[in-house]
Amino acid sequence: MRLQQQDQTANPIWKVIGASSVGTLIEWYDFYIFGSLAPIIAAQFFPQTNPTAALLATLATFAAGFIVRPFGALVFGRLGDLVGRKYTFLLTLILMGGSTFAIGLVPGYGQIGFAAPIIVLLLRLIQGLALGGEYGGAATYVAEHAPDEKRGYYTSWIQTTATLGLLLSLGIILGTRSSLDTDPLISVQKFEDWGWRIPFLLSILLVGVSVYIRLRMKESPLFTEIKASGKISKNPLKESFVHRANLKMVLLALFGMVMGQGVVWYTGQFYAQTFMENVCRLDFGQTRTILIWAIVLATPGFILFGWLSDRIGRKWIMLLGMFLAIISYRPIYRQMLSISDTKGMTADPARSRVDRMILPAGNSDHSLVNVTTIAQFDNGIIEKEVRKDTLFQSEKPTAKGKGKTSRTLPSGLYWQMILLVFVQIMFVTMVYGPIAAFLVELFPTRIRYTSMSLPYHIGNGVFGGLTPFIALLLTTIRQGDPLVGLWYPIGVATICLVIGTLYVSNRIDPNVND
């Protein structure tokens, strides 16, 4: 407590929070834009017609999230406990910003062939590595500056960054996508051709500002003290994961809290988006704005629950968030499906139309037929179906190819959908708001960065990151139940809830200066 108070004059707490949060937010932004633009990046760098390029795409998707992130937690966690928090999370920021900017500069597969997907894969792996090292550093840095009675409140600002990073990435992508031309269709086309590079290039400005701010900050007072007194761990990895007394706390953090938090986080903010787009068949832009609204409205929840955790403890807030998620996911998703359903509805003939467009197909004698059917239903939903097919000479102009349907919700149903996503993000704020303070308090200063980073990134990167894949896999195994994918987050969160209830303590550590 004394050390933190002494440091207030050198590093005022809001300056510490600002410097840490902005950098972490930018790292999340950098990580998400790749994911959000995955289909466009795949078309530019990983053409599916080429098996080797497609293979590299799979590696980029899976390796960065699941292997490299926890590996980054080990590498940078160790560095943070040996060298210091400040320089380590400065390094992760530079690596992340540099690799993101570089992705925006890499020429496409059409220009440089295989070098393009290989370079992008390497840069994506650096992104994963850097992300693995960032969070633990930022959370530790803020917690080691915060007064004991406000640790949950101050670290909760760091907790907003993952969600705000997602928000920033969605906003910049939507904004860029719609502002490249006055004609919306041409603007989207330009975005897919070259405009997708803008969000990547923009990262260098954001990172530049953040590096400047972080350079002016001082090292954590607790780390400085243990360094001065020669109490730094000689081998943080061994001390964290080989010594039984600490290893058992790492395992408790993972199975008793972080894995449940990870699946709740990814269900509320990623699976909800995938579900709206692929199962409810909502329009691309509308799913993004629904998520943006829900995030904006729910974000204060991180601060609220961080603050509350200083008063009543961290454990029960996080476990209550998990419990509410477990019991309400299926009703929420059933309702999401119900409000976007047009089955049994009648299309208003006066507001429905079919547009047919026939275009020449390259140098052949054939043509491409593009049939767009627009129908407006009783409940106000506008359904647009686009079918494309090759029209051979002497055939009637019909389109038998696979159609793509997208629905646009009317205002009332749109706000209902926002409410349903908002509730899920409130669960996210309950499980995620207090978790930095919880993790910091579990481990001693000399191995804190290493010990908290690994369970965090296994819980979030592996358990959480797998949510969309496993949910999709479950729907292919048990077709006919569109909600079957929810059993994965419900199952993981239930195991975590039981372990957390039995083994985790609700005690707030009065002193992290040890």
Binding site: P51, A54, L55, T58, L59, F62, A63, F66, I67, P70, K231, S233, K234, N235, K238, E239, H243, R244, A245, N246, L247, K248, M249, L251, L252, L254, F255, P444, T445, R446, I458, V462, L466, F469, L473, I495, V498, I499, L502, Y503, S505, R507, N511, D514
Partner: protein
């Protein structure tokens, strides 16, 4: 409560091999259903990542059964230094 914590350790120890078996059999089915390099890589990554996690769960159950979680440390003074 401590007795319950120790008994539940057996559940976690049992859950670990069950999860590995489920993962391996699903991987086998999925690769057989779609034997492309993509599918093989995906499932290899899943297995490589989940094996140590399952081992961690087994260890967690073992620690629980041995009573390691009967008392959680109040201070870092209770933890050994390297």
């Amino acid at each position: 409560m401590n007795k319950l914590k120790r008994l539940a350790g057996w559940i976690w120890m049992g859950l670990a091999p069950a999860a590995v078996w489920l993962l391996a059999s699903t991987a086998h089915q999925e690769i057989a259903r779609n034997p492309t390099v993509d599918t093989r890589i995906q499932w290899t990554v899943f297995i490589v990542v989940f094996l140590p996690i399952a081992f961690g769960l087994l260890l967690f159950g073992w620690f629980a059964w041995k009573g390691e979680y009967d008392h959680l440390p109040d201070s870092s003074a209770e933890l050994p230094e390297d």
